[in-house]
């Protein structure tokens, strides 16, 4: 039977779109060349963050998603661990506090705490930190399990789409006709007409040290690194544990196409920043490093909506490093727009018809 909607991409965004469309009674088929969560979704840390977003449309999308996740991620190691953002220099104190105050005004639980309290929260944190803000809403999940949970009961076919006209997709096995097509191909979305570029990131994984690091802890300069559009290597200290006890260490940003080599200078920079936050990590072995590609839109906003040039082709991409956190609201927004419901957030900022996005 012909599907109502074909979703291209079985990552966290494609899965969330498929889930929301199916919940509205539509017949959905998801296509992916490598299977569920085989690209960007599995290459991150599974973060659901509000702490790193300044007030604006993306924060609204993040808040809406944060409300939806707990129910959807029940079987996906959902953990409301909280985020701890710290300043590491005297100069960084005021910008961090100003940023947190703006977020509080927008309704975010951003609690300024003393450095002594921060050290109580995180006993191994460097005593040299200069300020700390505790974000109660930050959470984490296992992105592969979350993707699978969203895709439950939905047909996923392993195939690659070459072209689409919004009324069908062409695969090596033939054309699949449908009512609408969703482009949720993340960093590969450019193949279907939107200006999304890959932005490289690398994560280090240590051997397990359960219970040592409790929150997501990151340096306040992270927010600046995320917002930057620089192609050169940028790193910022981001440290957190997984439920298995391993510690994940990020973050790096580099624009170098789909080059997936891992450079020792990136490993070095990440190690230096992690040790600056947690000196005890010096002697902890790294057993693995992995990298991925964030889907980067030059104006740093997700792209969610119908393509005015190709009726029937919808885009849901450009979430950069926040796809896991933004997925449920993205899926719901897309499904609401597609079915003519009232959208849960203002869709206008995410429209496809933006000068930086149309290619």
């Amino acid at each position: 039977m012909q599907p109502d909607v074909v979703v291209m991409g079985a990552g966290i965004i494609g899965a969330a779109c498929a889930q929301a469309l199916r919940a509205r009674g539509l017949r959905v088929v998801v296509l992916d060349r490598h299977g569920p969560a085989s690209g960007t979704s599995a290459a991150g840390e599974g973060n659901v963050l509000v702490s790193d977003k300044e007030p604006g449309p993306e924060l609204e999308l993040a808040r809406a998603s944060r409300d939806l996740w707990p129910e959807l991620a029940e079987d996906a190691e959902w953990e409301e661990k909280g985020g701890l953002v710290v300043a590491t220099t005297p100069e960084a104190v005021v910008p961090l506090q100003t940023f947190a105050a703006k977020q509080r005004a927008a309704g975010i639980d951003a609690c300024e705490i003393t450095t002594a309290d921060a050290l109580t929260c995180e006993p191994h944190l460097s005593p040299d930190i200069t300020a700390a803000v505790h974000y109660l809403q930050d959470a984490q999940l296992n992105p592969v399990k979350a993707t699978r949970a969203l895709l439950r009961g939905i047909e996923v076919r392993r195939t690659e789409v070459s072209t689409t006209d919004g009324r069908g997709v062409t695969t090596p096995d033939g054309v699949i006709s449908c009512g609408a097509v969703v482009n949720a191909t993340g960093p590969w979305a450019r193949n279907f007409g939107v200006n999304v570029l890959p932005r490289r990131g690398v994560v280090l994984v240590t051997t397990p040290i359960p219970g040592t690091i409790r929150h997501k802890v990151y340096d306040a300069d992270y927010v600046g690194a995320v917002a930057s559009g620089d192609a050169d290597l940028q790193t910022s200290g981001v440290v957190e544990s997984t439920q298995a006890g391993t510690v994940l260490i990020g973050s790096s940003r580099q624009r170098k196409g789909f080059d997936d080599t891992i450079e020792s200078r990136v490993l070095k920079a990440l190690a230096l920043k992690a040790i600056a936050l947690f000196p005890m990590l010096t002697n902890v072995p790294v057993m693995r490093a992995y990298g991925g590609f964030r889907p980067y839109a030059p104006d740093h906003l997700p792209i969610i909506g119908e393509d005015p040039r190709t009726p029937g082709l919808w885009h849901a991409t450009g979430h950069e490093g926040a796809g896991v956190g933004l997925a449920p609201a993205t899926g719901r927004l897309l499904a609401q727009l597609l079915t003519g419901e009232t959208p849960l957030v203002d869709p206008h900022p995410f429209r496809v018809d933006r000068p930086e996005v149309m290619v």
Binding site: H34, P36, T207, V286
Partner: protein, 471 residues
């Protein structure tokens, strides 16, 4: 020009000698205190003009034409916990710290609860697994500093060998089960492991292991070969080209009466071992119980191919051309990393790789030896291929991944290795799937994609932070 050889087994030593004789400046890097690899275990007495031997040194990453090294001073004082898969390494260490004492008290190892299945470190290249006190690094010529962190090469020869593949069955992760390679390594050092031993698996390697254990006074309960010897009847061409291999069998005649084919250990509880007769697909057709203290298992070998994650591989073995060239420019591979064929084939491949790396035509004799040896290697791979029926041996609660304690029933259906790992945590622990990934893939039907490990051995964050800046 500088040729760097990684690994000092038969292939690596041959490559180093040949490249040096061809006029190259050669550095041979190896994680053990002495050359010889698994095969010769420190008995090689390697010394060759023009070759600098960097001992006790691990290569943790290859980046462009630079190796990242960890030498003895980096690793000194490191807690054993911090080493690569250590759960098992603990056993050999305990045994070898005082080899004579262990030999005098045969049960020393078997009694240790952790004298167990092998992770790669117990067996091949990982350095200190077996030797508790590495000797000091040798004095090195001036061209290479004593303990370099970075080593540039004009050509690289990777000869890092292979390690035994265990297959899981109920009890394989308990006491008294080790890999055949670990058993042989200990036996070569004169360590007696237990009184009543079983050697089980597939391939001719089981015979020297059984012989070594018997020579040390162990009672050989059985040597169980899962495949049928009749498979070799189809391999006349390979046998004709490698007649000397048949002569080698004579050296193991003492253990041949204990050899049973189409037989495997499929469970071990205490000293009660379930031994099954198998059909051609390795499905058990009948079984009996025997008593043994130690079961040594080896179902072929898995290549140690971590150093070149981007090199083209088939079934995880490096693809090489007639000059032992990998798919990566200026990088060669020799020995068991290109296929399992024994020490003489490894050595001949080393000669070719060493010559080619130094810019010379390989000697005709080595080329001929490789041609014949590969016939044997291919026949070996066919005759002793692991058959799918082994998947019926583990019970739902049998451990598949020891590091993360993942049981067979925890393996969810998945469409890729990555999905399987991230949903079940199989292959996500200390050994990073070196032991379990292949088994987990076969158990679930997920395509085995050859793991891509950027960091070949665990390395403390402090060392990463102190990496020298590249100019």
């Amino acid at each position: 020009m500088r040729v760097v050889v990684v690994g000092a087994g038969p292939a690596g030593m041959a490559a180093a000698r040949t490249a040096a004789d061809a006029g190259a400046e050669v550095v041979m890097v190896d994680s053990e205190p002495d050359a010889g690899g698994q095969y010769l275990r420190g008995r090689a007495r390697f010394s060759h003009t023009g070759v600098t031997h960097l001992r006790n040194t691990e290569v943790w990453m290859v980046e462009g034409n630079t190796l990242h090294l960890r030498g003895p001073s980096d690793r000194r004082g490191e807690s054993r916990e911090n080493e690569a898969p250590s759960a098992v390494a603990a056993a050999p260490c305990a045994a070898t710290a005082t080899p004579s004492a262990a030999a005098a008290t045969p049960s020393a190892v078997a009694a240790t609860p952790s004298a167990v299945p092998a992770t790669p470190s117990a067996v091949p290249a990982t350095p200190s697994a077996v030797t508790a006190t590495p000797s000091a690094a040798a004095a090195t010529p001036s061209a290479v500093p004593a303990n370099p962190r970075l080593l540039h090469f004009d050509a690289l020869v990777v000869a890092t060998g292979a390690y035994d593949r265990p297959l899981p069955f109920p009890g394989w992760d308990g006491p008294g089960v080790i890999t055949a390679g670990a058993a042989q390594a200990l036996a070569k050092q004169g360590v007696t492991l237990a009184e009543r031993v079983i050697v089980a698996g597939t391939g001719p390697f089981l015979l020297p292991v059984a012989t070594a254990l018997q020579d040390l006074g162990a009672t050989l309960v059985g040597v169980y070969e899962a495949s049928s010897p009749t498979r070799w009847l189809r391999e006349a061409k390979a046998i004709t080209a490698n007649r000397h291999k048949i002569g080698e069998l004579a050296g193991y005649r003492k253990v041949l009466p204990r050899l049973e084919t189409r037989t495997a250990v499929i469970a071990k509880h205490g000293d009660r071992v379930t031994v099954a007769k198998l059909d051609s697909q390795w499905r058990p057709v009948s079984h009996r119980t025997v008593q043994a203290d130690l079961v040594c298992i080896g179902y072929g070998f898995l290549p140690r191919t971590d150093l070149l994650p981007d090199a083209s591989r088939t079934d995880d073995f490096y693809d090489v051309d007639e000059h032992q060239r990998t798919s990566i420019e200026h990088v060669y591979a020799a020995g068991e990393v290109t296929g399992i064929g024994g020490a003489d084939l490894a050595e001949a491949e080393g000669v070719i790789a060493g010559a080619a790396a130094a810019g010379q035509e390989p000697p005709r004799k080595a080329v001929e030896a490789v041609r014949k040896g590969r016939l044997f290697a291919q026949a070996l791979a066919r005759a002793h291929a692991v058959q799918p029926g082994w998947r019926t041996w583990p019970a739902p609660d049998t451990t598949v991944c020891r590091c993360e304690k993942v049981r067979l029933e925890d393996l969810a259906d998945a469409s890729s290795m990555r999905e399987l790992k991230l949903t079940s945590r199989v292959a996500m622990g200390r050994c990073q799937g070196r032991i379990c990934a292949r088994n987990a893939a076969e158990l679930t039907g997920v395509p085995f994609d050859g793991q891509r490990r950027v960091i070949a051995v665990p390395i403390p964050l402090g060392e990463l932070a102190a990496l020298p800046e590249e100019k």
